[in-house]
């Protein structure tokens, strides 16, 4: 006997949910329940035995606290600097190594290595390279071109910039690869037409290549900005927020509040604020994109 259509459909739906169950269960336990817990915790003063509801107090603390203000500022600077640096360099390198030649493929593979490396280990490597003494690797290189040794991570003025340097090193090849994929899609006949019209390379770049890359650009921008805002490992390993809080970002501050000082409520509120900022940024970028596409 063949099952009736409705019964077959119901059976299909049942099977679908059964196949989805493991994923949904894991998401529920390790994403949604923590998210919900975090939200409720952010309105409480968490104590060992009985926690108390404190309404928006935790949020008030965050928004008025100097440490949070500077952490938010550092996160923004780091996110925007890293994003802009990786995008510009990524685009530049992508243009330079575009092409089908075999040696270019080698250059691409080699240049891509930083992206797949383990952050924690790479950060240890950069810590050594950033050694402030004049024997440090980067300082030796600066010495060759007759520049003074820099303190890098050891100074309040340059700690954040030094972290940014490493993040750009690791982010550039990723952007480069995505730009390269975008460049493949550019219509070649347009280049030909431009050459017939006698357009210079610069004009060709500006009027044909760059407009074609615009969607890629926005995707990369959003991704990098979000990733930049939530940066943790880089800072935790390189400086742990120091010296003197000069490179403290939101996540390292939240981590310290949560796991070292035990201010779980405030830390959770910080997490929610970070999430809200991420969401806002994504929506803003999408709106800007839509507007640009419309005009």
């Amino acid at each position: 006997m063949t099952p009736t259509p409705t019964r077959a459909r119901r059976r299909g739906a049942l099977i679908a949910w059964a196949f989805l169950a493991p994923a949904l269960l894991l998401f529920l336990y390790f994403k949604f329940i923590p998210m919900f817990t975090g939200l409720t915790m952010s309105f409480q003063e968490i104590r060992y035995i009985d926690s108390q509801w404190v309404g928006l107090d935790n949020y008030r603390t965050i928004l008025t606290d100097d440490a949070f203000a500077s952490a938010i500022w550092h996160s923004l600077v780091l996110a925007l600097g890293t994003t802009a640096g990786s995008l510009v360099l990524g685009l530049g390198f992508a243009l330079l190594i575009e092409g089908p030649a075999r040696y270019l493929w080698f250059v691409r593979t080699a240049a891509f290595l930083p992206v797949v490396t383990t952050m924690a280990a790479v950060a240890e490597v950069w810590r050594i390279m950033y050694h402030p003494g004049d024997t440090g690797m980067l300082n030796s290189i600066l010495g060759w071109v007759a520049l003074d040794p820099q303190p890098f991570l050891a100074s309040e003025d340059s700690s954040l910039l030094s972290i940014m340097g490493m993040s750009i090193w690791r982010g550039t090849p990723y952007d480069m690869m995505i730009f390269l994929a975008g460049l493949v899609g550019v219509d070649r006949t347009l280049y030909e037409a431009a050459a017939v019209d006698g357009a210079s390379t610069w004009r060709r770049l500006r009027h044909i290549t760059l407009p074609a890359l615009r969607p890629v650009f926005w995707i990369l921008f959003t991704l990098a900005a979000i990733r930049g805002l939530r940066v943790f490992v880089e800072v935790y390993v390189l400086t742990n927020g120091g010296p003197n809080g000069s490179s403290e970002v939101l996540m390292t501050l939240i981590y310290k509040l949560g796991f070292q000082t035990g201010e779980l409520g405030i830390a959770s509120a910080g997490g929610i604020v970070l999430f809200a900022a991420t969401l806002l940024l994504t929506v803003l970028v999408q709106l800007m994109r839509r507007r640009q596409a419309a005009s």
């Binding site: 994923a23 975090g38 250059v107 080699a110 797949v116 240890e124 390279m129 690797m137 070649r188 390379t201």
Partner: protein, 286 residues
């Protein structure tokens, strides 16, 4: 004149152009691989200056790796492999099952499931780190304490939106006729899935496999939360303590860093094609 790139650099063959290109490309390779090469050389060098890397090795030695053993580095490496092995296995199984439902079945609530996937990808795991540590210490309903266990590091990476979406996109391409033919031959749901769909998805398995591997290998906050005792540390989180321990020499730190870097680099070089494919098919890595 040729038009296969925006700048047309490749077509320039003059001696000056070639010289500039050689300089440019070797400079690029140097910038991006230099730090890694410096680590590779220094880790095998005998006399170590804690402030600098050695680019010209004066003596080759395995001593750093021997000493690393005394500092439990191989235990940490073992932990990392346990987590990445079982974590990846779980992740791939969960992804192919979920993708099968999303790609081949029509059911009510599918758009909600898709929304759930996208939400989890939008939600940075860093943000839920603190509540996650509480949830892991006492799982709701089940009341299990996963702190200090492998399961605590494995289960949370089991479901990953990126893998599920990549797999779903791929499965949509598998022709329905093949599935129908199997049905007519009397194959059941699981049989169709394992004998028809899954073998055809092998290229996509490579993609989610290599991405999953690097993603799990790079986990930092999760093991940091789950493994308070050094016996359960994974290699990435052990590095920082090794370095700040006065008694541990720089050689051990270098050897351990190299061991932490190699697996994902090898995975990338071995599965390069799949990696690039995943990268460009969905620039949506969360």
């Amino acid at each position: 004149m040729r038009f296969d790139s925006a700048l047309g650099l490749e077509a320039r063959r003059g001696p000056v152009a070639v010289a500039v290109k050689v300089l440019l490309y070797s400079g690029m390779v140097l910038i991006f691989t230099g730090p890694l090469v410096a680590l590779l050389i220094s880790a095998f060098n005998e006399t170590l200056d804690p402030t600098a890397f050695t680019l010209w090795p004066d003596s080759f030695t395995f001593e750093n790796f021997v000493q690393a053993g005394e500092r439990n580095v191989y235990l940490y490496l073992f932990n990392s492999f346990v987590v990445v092995g079982f974590g990846l296995l779980l992740q791939v199984i969960v992804s192919v099952f979920a993708a099968y439902a999303l790609a081949r079945k029509k059911f009510r609530g599918m758009s909600i499931v898709m929304l759930i996937m996208l939400t989890t990808m939008m939600l940075p795991e860093e943000i839920i780190a603190i509540p996650l540590s509480l949830v892991l210490a006492d799982l709701p309903v089940l009341h299990l304490d996963l702190i200090g266990t492998y399961a605590g590091m494995i289960l949370p990476v089991g479901a990953w939106g990126f893998s599920i979406l990549v797999m779903t996109e791929f499965m949509k391409e598998v022709p329905v006729e093949l599935e129908e033919a199997a049905r007519i031959d009397g194959a059941g749901e699981l049989r169709t899935f394992f004998t028809i769909i899954l073998p055809l998805c092998r290229p996509a398995l490579g993609v989610i496999g290599v991405f999953g591997f690097t993603m799990i290998w790079d986990q930092y906050l999760l093991p940091l939360i789950v493994a308070p005792e050094s016996g359960m540390w994974t290699l990435p989180i052990a590095l920082r303590s090794l370095r700040s321990d006065e008694e541990v020499g720089i050689g051990v730190v270098l050897a351990a860093s190299l061991l932490a870097l190699l697996p994902s680099i090898i995975a990338f070089l071995a599965f390069q094609r799949q990696f690039m494919r995943g990268l460009t098919s969905g620039a949506i890595k969360g």
